[in-house]
Amino acid sequence: MEHRKMAATLRRMTSIALASTFLGLATIALAQQRTPVQPAPQAPIRVKEIDWARARQAAQAPTTPKARQFITLNRQAIDALRLPVLLPQDPDLATPLRLFPRGDSYTVSAKLTKFAFTLTGSRQAFHLPPEAVKRLPPGGLKSRLPADGILVEKTESGIDASHVRFGVNYSISLECADGPKDPRCADERYVRGLISRLAVVVPAHGE
C-alpha cells in the first residue's frame, strides 16, 4: 500500500516537473522570438577629459553685446553645467536664443522667420556597437571626417555640422523652410562661419 502511494507521489512529481519544464521552455521560446536581434548599446560615457585650460583661454576673446547679454541672463544655468559652453554671437541668433541645460550637455536654440538654429554640446558619447564598427570603411569614423575635423551633413531639413573642441562634441543644426534655396542651408560656408565665430563661456565652477 505504502509502496503504491510512493509510486503515485513519484508519478505526480514527475508530471509536475515535466509540465514546469514545458512551461519554462515555452516561455523561453516566446521570449527568444520577441528578443531584440542585438544587445543594445551601453549608456553614454564620457569620452575625453575636458581641456579646461584651453577653454578658459578661449573664453578671454571679446564677445558681442548680444552674446554678453545672453550670458548675463543665463549665468546661473550656465554655471551649473559641467562643460564649456559655445554660443552663437550673431545678433539675429543671439537675440531669440533659449538655453536648455542638462549637466553634461546643453542645447541652445533660436527660431527666426523660415529659419531655425540649434546647437547642442555634450561631453558624453555612445560606444558604436561592433555591428556598426565592422561596417565602417577602413580607418573607422575618422575616415568619414574631413581634415579640419568638422563633419558637415546636408540633411532633409537643412544642414548639420559637428566638431570636437576642448574634448567636447558640439553639433549645430540649421533648418531652412526653403530648403536648398536658402544659402544658409545650401552652402556649408555659412555654418562653418558660425562655428568660427562661436563665443566660449566657461561655467564658474568648471570641473
Partner: protein, 273 residues
C-alpha cells in the same frame, strides 16, 4: 489516473499561460524578400515631388491584428533604392513607438506609390500594408557616415494607418525636453542623451512648445505633410541622432532607427503603453 489528470492539467495550464504571455500577435520575424511596390515617390526635397494628397481613405481597418505584422530585415531597401545598412542593433532600446496607435507602416516615400519614383498616388492600399521596409540609407545626397555609401536617407519614413492628415498622433519616444521647433521639424532631446527628430508634423497644431518637458508616450503633434514652404506625402520622418565613438573619432550623427522601431512596434502590439 490522478497523475495523468495532473499532467493534463499542468500541460493545459502551461499552454494557456504561454498563450497569455504571447503578444496578442505572434512574434514576427523578418520575412523573406517581398514584392516591392512600384516606384515613384516624394518625401525629400532632393528629388521630391510636391504631393497634394487625395484624402481617399484606404481600406485598412482601425483594429490592429498583431499576428499580421511582418517586416523585412534591416538593410533591405526597396528595389533599386540604394544600399541599406544591415546593422541589427537596436539603438534606442525600450523606446516608445513614435505614433500613438497601430497600425503604422514603415516604408519608402520616394519609391512607394505617390512618390517621385513610384507609381500612382500616395493613398494606394499598397502603401498601407505589411511588410515594413527599412529606408535608412535610401539613395539621397545627404551625408550619412553610417551608411555604406557615406550618404543616404537619414531616418525612417512611417505612414500612419491611412493617408489622412491630422488624424494620427506622434508621441515622445522617450522622456526628455523639446529643444527645437522649426518650420517642419521638432527635436526631442531625450534624457538618455539621444535626440529624436520628428519631421512633417502639422506645425500649426503641435501639442508641445519649446522647452516643454515631455514624458515617454506624450503627444507631440499630428502626423501631416508639412515640409517648409512645400508639402510632402503624409508621413512621419523619424530620426535618431547620437554622439558616437569608435575609438578613432567621436561624431554626432544619425543612427539606424529601423530595428528600434520594429522592436517598439512589436511591444506596442503586445499591449505595452
Amino acid at each position: 489516473m490522478a497523475a495523468h489528470r495532473a499532467t493534463a492539467t499542468f500541460l493545459l495550464l502551461a499552454v494557456l499561460l504561454a498563450a497569455g504571455c504571447q503578444p496578442s500577435a505572434p512574434p514576427s520575424g523578418p520575412t523573406g524578400p517581398t514584392k516591392t511596390p512600384g516606384a515613384k515617390g516624394s518625401g525629400s526635397k532632393t528629388g521630391s515631388k510636391s504631393t497634394t494628397p487625395t484624402p481617399k481613405p484606404t481600406s485598412t481597418p482601425d483594429t490592429p491584428v498583431a499576428s499580421e505584422f511582418k517586416f523585412n530585415p534591416a538593410g533591405q531597401l526597396h528595389a533599386n533604392s540604394g544600399q541599406g545598412d544591415a546593422d541589427p542593433t537596436i539603438y534606442a532600446p525600450g523606446m516608445r513607438f513614435p505614433i500613438e496607435k497601430p497600425r503604422a507602416f514603415a516604408n519608402s516615400q520616394v519609391w512607394g506609390h505617390g512618390g517621385l519614383h513610384g507609381p500612382g498616388g500616395e493613398c494606394d492600399a499598397e502603401n498601407y500594408g505589411y511588410p515594413w521596409s527599412d529606408n535608412f540609407c535610401e539613395t539621397r545626397d545627404f551625408t550619412a557616415p553610417l551608411c555604406p555609401a557615406g550618404t543616404g536617407h537619414q531616418g525612417q519614413d512611417i505612414r500612419p494607418n491611412s493617408c489622412a492628415r491630422d488624424k494620427y498622433i506622434a508621441v515622445a519616444a522617450e522622456a526628455g525636453t523639446i529643444t527645437h521647433i522649426g518650420t517642419f521639424t521638432v527635436y526631442l532631446n531625450a534624457d538618455s542623451g539621444r535626440v529624436f527628430r520628428y519631421l512633417h508634423l502639422d506645425m500649426h497644431n503641435l501639442k508641445v512648445g519649446l522647452g516643454d518637458k515631455v514624458a515617454r508616450g506624450q503627444a507631440i503633434g499630428y502626423v501631416a505633410n508639412d515640409f517648409g514652404t512645400t508639402q510632402t506625402t503624409i508621413h512621419l520622418h523619424f530620426e535618431i541622432r547620437e554622439t558616437v565613438t569608435d575609438g578613432t573619432a567621436t561624431i554626432t550623427t544619425f543612427v539606424p532607427p529601423y530595428t528600434s522601431l520594429v522592436d517598439a512596434y512589436q511591444r506596442m502590439l503586445a499591449g505595452e503603453k
